[in-house]
């Protein structure tokens, strides 16, 4: 490894790791508070990409308005999923139901994409345009400005989340519900509302990661599956319910991926997260920072 390639490894891994934190944060948060492993998390990511495309190219909204409208849409969708599909169910039931709903969304988008209403979208793949152009060179390595902004937003979201959870009334309510729903309800907190709110926040996080990342790929109704696999791997490797575990796992997976891309074989990059997931589940099923269930 030369000095130049080490710098590339360091900088690109750092950038990607922060993006991974953003991508998995919503998934981890909902599990931490409500015990829901949201199987439709990746599908929500996909829907935001498509809806941004729709608002931008068909309804001619500006890019920021399109993103905002898409985030509203996905927040509403997540509210419906939590209220009518996942609520009051155990983790496994909720996982299967939300996974099934993810397939429903996938096939619905697939159908609508080439329906008579949007026939011209069949002419070429849907995509979200890059909305922050250019690159910045850091330690001799060029990084896309859109990634840098995504990194900044991730850090801002994490800080905001920390402030909300530790300093505000609603944050205390969320923490209370995450610890014990029954006890929380006994002190006047409505767990249902707290979980719904968390679900909406989680979906918005998936949406924010989507608008930043889908600019660099064309959209496909199946893109969500890679995302949920990655989010699931990060959360399990870090330890279910552990924020610091999730952050650490994000960087482990990001650096492993960048290492394989730079120094080994790009065709194996997607294999890394799953291989690490299997290793962690075999060696330490509770994850790096997870508590062992007795």
């Amino acid at each position: 490894m030369t000095y130049v390639s080490f710098l590339s490894f360091f900088v690109l891994g750092l950038t990607l790791g922060i993006v991974y934190v953003l991508l998995s944060e919503g998934f981890a948060l909902l599990y931490g508070v409500a015990g829901v492993l949201n199987g439709s998390y990746g599908a929500l990511y996909m829907v935001v990409g498509y809806s941004t495309f729709l608002f931008f190219f068909y309804f001619k909204l500006g890019i920021l308005a399109s993103i905002f409208a898409s985030l509203l849409l996905v927040a509403f969708l997540s509210y419906l999923i939590q209220k009518y599909i996942a609520d009051e169910r155990n983790t496994l039931d909720a996982l299967f139901l939300t996974l099934a709903f993810a397939f429903v969304l996938q096939y619905l988008v697939s159908f609508l994409q080439c329906s008579s209403a949007f026939r011209s979208s069949c002419q070429y793949p849907a995509f979200v345009p890059v909305f922050i152009n250019g690159s910045t060179t850091f330690l001799g390595v060029s990084i896309f400005n859109q990634y840098l902004v995504a990194d900044g937003i991730t850090i801002a979201i994490l800080l905001a989340l920390w402030v909300v959870l530790s300093k505000t009334k609603i944050g205390k309510a969320i923490r209370a519900v995450s610890q014990d729903k029954l006890a929380a309800s006994l002190v006047g907190i409505n767990p249902m509302r707290v979980i719904l709110l968390t679900s909406v926040i989680s979906a918005v996080m998936a949406g924010v990661s989507s608008v930043f990342l889908t600019s660099y790929q064309t959209l496909d109704p199946t893109i969500g599956w890679n995302i949920i696999t990655l989010a699931f791997a990060i959360v399990v490797i870090g330890g279910l319910g552990s924020l610091k575990g999730q952050i650490l796992a994000s960087f482990i997976l990001a650096y492993a991926r960048v290492y394989v891309l730079l120094f080994y074989n790009p065709l194996l990059a997607d294999f890394v997260s799953l291989a690490l997931l299997i290793v962690v589940l075999l060696v330490r099923p509770q994850g790096i920072f997870g508590k062992e269930v007795v």
């Binding site: 910045t136 060029s142 889908t214």
Partner: protein
């Protein structure tokens, strides 16, 4: 009483017989009259299109087939045994440009075309592994398949050995004679790319503002069609061995998975390798992502490498929009530029543009010619049946929109005499500008270097 009853029955029977006879005569007369005044029932030949209809490549090919069919029918259809047959098309969506779908789905579409839609000839094919699987079914159905866009010589080599066929292929004419290939195959691309690279080197060395294009980075999507030109591992192919003998140096070579979204690591390595030329081999939307990121990247000293290479999507009119204009200066092959490859080319492109609002892609040009070739072969053979149609197709010479077409002994297209496959174009401000073809003495002065 008995006598009276018999007489009454006899009268009734006679009346009934008379009524029945009158009815029969009347009905027969009506039918005969209808038959006399009726227009002759049109005879049809059904062309089955096996295409990814949700993608531009499939949609353009479908539209071009419809245009060709309408034109042929307007001129009386196809005459076989002194009978006019109208052409009609039926299409099945193979979805084969979605790389995640299994090959079976493409084969199912072919099966439906034959068994349910009763197609008599099949045209289509884009993804090589799907076409290979489809070709294996043709002998079972005894139906001709004209492949318009896949580009690996596997099936050609199964039809008949030829000098371009890779060693180890077992020719099986009986099983594969139904297959005809209108598109250039992956290995045949190489000579054109080498010729252009040499011309580009000469141009760049004598004009200011160009990077050192002798340092080459190779980027190839991990698909069957890139095995020939890119090699395995990447860079290990005849194409790059020849280029190295001609003064080029491959300083970076990599494959990337289909639908890759982030090329940061590749770009950083290409930048570190000081490559001045990126040869990009793609067919799907990952190429658009690469081009966008190549344009956004902060290249050392502000000197962007030139990007050129075969990219199916790169020659489509939508590519400029897809990349948000980042395709500026990207050089693509093959390029459906508005150039008179034959007297039929420009009228077709103009008519297509007028009808559908965009420039047709290569699949459209190939499909348009494919329909006409099949129609001409049917009228020569006086049949659509494979055992008569195959000899007709094997001996046909047809001047189409892509060039003067005839098939080789392995049922491939007769290269090198198809001008469309010799044309390179460069994206400039939303327009694909013709900059070179193999008959040019040098690169056109219209070429521009990558923006700094």
């Amino acid at each position: 009483m008995r006598t009276i009853s018999n007489a009454a029955i006899s009268r009734s029977v006679i009346v009934a017989i008379v009524v029945v006879v009158i009815v029969i005569v009347a009905a027969t007369s009506i039918l005969a009259y209808q038959r006399l005044v009726q227009k002759p029932v049109p005879h049809y030949v059904t062309l089955g299109l096996s295409l990814p209809l949700s993608y531009a490549v499939g949609q353009d090919a479908y539209d071009a087939a419809q245009m060709a069919v309408n034109q042929i029918n307007a001129n009386g259809g196809v005459v076989m045994n002194n009978t006019h047959y109208m052409l009609r098309i039926v299409a099945e969506d193979t979805d084969e440009l979605d790389w995640t779908i299994p090959v079976d789905q493409g084969v199912s579409a072919l099966e439906k075309l034959v068994t349910v839609d009763h197609a008599q000839v099949i045209l289509g094919g884009v993804r090589t592994d799907v076409v290979v699987a489809e070709a294996a079914k043709l002998a079972q159905y005894q139906i001709v398949f004209v492949d318009i866009e896949s580009n690996e010589p596997i099936v050609e080599c199964e039809v008949h050995h030829s000098p371009s066929c890779p060693p180890g292929i077992t020719a099986n004419y009986t099983a594969y004679k139904y297959y005809f290939h209108l598109f250039i195959n992956g290995s045949a691309i190489a000579p054109y790319l080498v010729k252009f690279a040499v011309e580009l080197k000469n141009y760049a060395q004598t004009h200011p503002g160009w990077p050192n294009v002798t340092r080459v980075a190779v980027m190839g999507e991990n698909a069957l069609w890139t095995v020939g030109p890119v090699g395995r591992p990447a860079g290990n192919s005849t194409l790059f061995h020849v280029m190295q003998n001609l003064g080029f140096k491959v300083v970076y070579a990599s494959l990337f998975p289909l639908n890759t979204q982030d090329f940061s690591t590749h770009l950083s390595q290409i930048a570190a390798s000081k490559a001045g030329l990126i040869m990009l081999f793609f067919s799907g939307s990952d190429g658009a992502s690469f081009i966008e990121q190549w344009q956004s990247y902060n290249w050392p000293n502000g000197q962007k490498p030139v990007v050129f290479g075969p990219g199916l999507l790169g020659g489509f009119s939508e590519f400029w929009t897809m990349t948000n204009g980042a395709a500026q200066s990207y050089i693509t092959w093959p390029a459906t530029v508005n150039v008179s490859f034959t007297p039929k080319t420009v009228p077709f492109i103009d008519a297509f543009y007028k009808e559908y609002g965009h420039t047709p892609n290569t699949a459209a040009l190939d499909m348009y010619d494919g329909v006409y070739i099949v129609a001409q072969a049917m009228s020569i053979a006086n049949s659509w049946k494979a055992y008569k149609l195959i000899p007709a197709l094997e001996s046909i010479t047809y001047t189409g929109v892509i060039g003067v077409i005839h098939f080789t002994s392995s049922h491939g297209i007769n290269l090198p005499s198809i001008p469309m496959y010799e044309q390179f174009g460069q994206w400039q401000n939303g327009v694909l500008v013709p900059i070179w073809n193999t008959t040019s003495s040098s690169i056109s002065s219209k070429i521009i270097p990558p923006p700094s």
